[in-house]
Symmetry: D3
Subunit: 219 residues, 6 copies
């Protein structure tokens, strides 16, 4: 999706050829399939056609999650509107911080699609490939500021045992410098990826191959 | 159960008196507060003002989740659009079935707000107050059709261990008569309440009191 | 929430009609059966006949758990004696507090029978229907005194990870004003419902329908 | 295992000396205390005095759980009545099988008191010291009949996730030759030790030292 | 506990008779088999032949884990070298402390082989049979020094949730008097038994019968 | 470690410079430290000096786990001997398959060090960068042969609940074509990484930076 900077993935190796020799792969399902459900794409609405075009221009491809939603324009438009407001809209959380939450939550839920996509976004936005790996493997390994550590601890507790969140958890966030609005934003981002992780896992959604090589070298 | 004749509780301080005045309640936070975050409501956009008015007319009140989102019209509108498409839009899942998923997922996540709201919706749409209780307490206690049982088993596995969903899980849904589009809908509803459960828990959202007494008697 | 104006659900089969006649119920097993095990009731002993008569007079019905035990008078009498001493006998825990523990423990164990019965008891003894719902959904949502919160935290830890209870847990109870005898009572009540939850789940015990509507309106 | 010739431990402080005098014990609490709660023993009722005398004669000591309950004769009598009916009363489960359930459940709950007492009972009733160890360590290691394995699998599932017990679990017991009454007995024994495990853990109950050496050699 | 006078079990099939001859054992697999995998023993290398001879002399038998590894001399020698350095080599942890860690870790993993072997080692090295039982049942029941309690808490957290170990966990060990080298040793021992527990469970390894009766009486 | 093919990491960016600008990093601990324990390196034995030289020549660097063990030559040599026999010695499991097990186990344990090292090894040995990501994120997302899927399912069950492994688990491996020796090898590799994962987590071991960029493009 747009608004990431400087992301171009021109030189992707032919995935068809690769899959051919790859050890351990079954060929029963084609790698070009984006999920395990067969849903016929609808005709893109004008606003979604424009958005897909923007994705192609900025990123070089349309993220598969958008193609997965394309069987129904009302659903696609609602998803894009909610996601873009959350991840790109005004917030005191930086876009990198929002992607750090997305990746750490996805690691808790072992979601292949979202770890691939948001790990890449962390690498890209931070210019620090190792930070992306840490978020995807175990965020506790990263040497974070007290602020960012509190943010991720809240997001992971909310993911793993939402019933246990209490005033003391919010108090810890306030003590790390977060306002009530910031707490909403942390909660909203962590909650959203608990939704998308599950939608991706339920449908065996496959990330675009381009993400894997993205932003692997230090800027 | 009443006391047996031989059981007398002489030395106990009078529990009736202690019970008299809502003994377990602290008054530090007013019950009219809808969540633990203080976010100033924005001015309602025309479409949201109309929607709130509709809620008042049809239900007699505006659900607190909508008031919680009202600090930001873009967020409120995106949430309402996504939610209404999902829960009221076209689907081969009945509205009752969607509310059954919402309630069973909320039980897994022990979410007070969502159990209150969606348990009431199940009671209301089914005309069966006990069905609402079963969904909120343990959906396995309900005597469901094979179809509905498969639907809820999928929703709960997706909630509890999303990383473990595989083709065999989707195959079981297909075997119970669900199409690929139905599987999307089941997944999308279960995933959405994994989001809202967490947003409600993170903010200590409180349900409108009206829900508790709703549809308690058999139609 | 009502529909927004733009949301129309044309292609959906009429959910109202489907909802009309308790759609989720199978009729294979009669609702009047009280558990999944077929055990022939024995002749009530004189003391148990008197106790059942007392139940009818005071509550209007005999709780199904008593009928379930009625295949053997020695077992029924032992259960009633243990239960009545525990829940009605002398204690510095009020009867409401004992029912709060029973309900919170049953929520941890997702026991349909016990949540129904003891949630009703909390509503009835407190005159606060919402307190009953909170105990059954997530006791952490209730605004409790420090004393009652410590009591329930101990009961739930004892339920979920009994191996982890240590002197520090008892110390917290003492710090909240509980004596050693009170700690015994909290432990004994929490432990007892860990027994009955399992007996009810093992036998698919069904609560009397009367509980569901009991004490639903504020006194 | 002894040391290999090349392994020398020169710089280590002498472990033999450190091991000499029960190094891991604190003396703050006397080992003769039977639990962490100080509750003054009441005067034994005639029936309980007779029962304690019987224990002394048959076993050589009064089990500490009985002493723990002795602060209140009503509680002690109710506990003894319930326990003796369950573990010694008529049942198609042998007393050994009931003790096997008690031990396996206590292993799941890591209860020091109950593992000590019921592990000894399994050793004693079976004349097979290794069977007692297996029940206390991991019942899956024992080479059991299909019947006994089904019995313990049910007991452990009921202990670990009581909410998940369903008709298929009861059907497996029936398939292994158990009647509905037998299923009640299995459930009742497993449930009872889920109670006593927690009461013992909550009070840090200590088993009589005599149990540890009991029935250690093969008959 | 003996029966109360009023408890009679007339209709019960004679449990004594049923218990008589190790009722729970199947004879399909011979007890002399040391694991579920059939791997032909290789010829012992000279150093391993000498080591086995030493085991016979000192302990009276060759531990089955060594026989299990004997299908391949390179594997056997590497295992013995690693194990002996770890458990017998120089360290400020006493051999008893290392065996306490081994046993507590094995209890967390419910490993029948390792609980048998290392529980015996704790009994033997400490001269305190009850300490061995506590390590195997629930180490929290033992009255340990602050030092040993911190050591075991670290080992168990490392076993149960290794991803959650952080600087604060190491700091607690330092606060209990452990050096960085000691922390390595605690971690290395706990980690090693997480390996052997799994190798024993994967192969259904059976401990030599001699361990069960070892060091059962107080020195 | 040696025997990976064609691995050269010449052009590593200066980590010092990078850490300087990296968002979210604390500078309290230098990135060149390889673990949280300060243990003075011992003088390398001749065999270990030769092995370190080999690592430099083949891989371009000495893996940090070897440096971490270098405070004690006996420990280092024992670790290298055990590890090299296991991962490089004769087996019907390919080196790639052994690395797939190592990575999937490390994902279950969320071990940053081992995921980095073994994810790189899977990418390198397979020439398939996405396969490495799948093993590190959720092995269930990979389209594996029945053989490899059975192998990883066994390894992960052995990691997550070793107490539950039974004959039926081994039977499934045999059904997928594995011999008893193969089962040993699968178990031994999975068990070993349950050891190293914990040693790395206990000491906060940091992987060499070179791994992150290794084998990221398709061969």
């Amino acid at each position: 999706m747009p608004k990431t900077r400087k992301t171009v993935a021109k030189s992707r190796p032919d995935p068809q050829k690769r899959a051919g020799r790859a050890p351990g792969r079954k060929t029963a399902r084609r790698d070009t399939e984006i999920m395990a459900l067969k849903l016929r794409p609808a005709r893109l609405s004008p606003s979604m056609a424009a958005f897909f075009k923007l994705c192609e221009e900025k990123q070089g491809f349309v993220p598969n999650v958008l193609k997965a939603f394309s069987f129904d324009m009302a659903k696609l438009e609602a998803f894009v509107a909610y996601r873009n407001d959350l991840m790109l809209g005004g917030s005191r959380l930086s876009m990198l911080e929002r992607e750090m939450i997305a990746t750490a939550v996805s690691a808790q839920n072992h979601c292949f699609y979202c770890l691939t996509v948001h790990g890449a976004a962390v690498r890209n936005l931070s210019g620090d490939p190792v930070l992306g790996e840490m978020m995807a493997m175990n965020y506790r390994a990263a040497r974070l500021s007290k602020r960012q550590r509190a943010m991720l601890d809240f997001a992971i507790k909310l993911t793993a045992e939402p019933w246990g969140i209490e005033e003391s958890d919010r108090a810890r966030l306030r003590g790390a410098g977060f306002s009530d609005r910031d707490i909403w934003d942390i909660a909203a981002v962590a909650s959203f990826y608990n939704m998308t992780n599950r939608l991706a896992s339920a449908t065996d959604m496959r990330p675009n191959e381009e993400y894997h090589g993205l932003a692997r070298s230090t800027k």
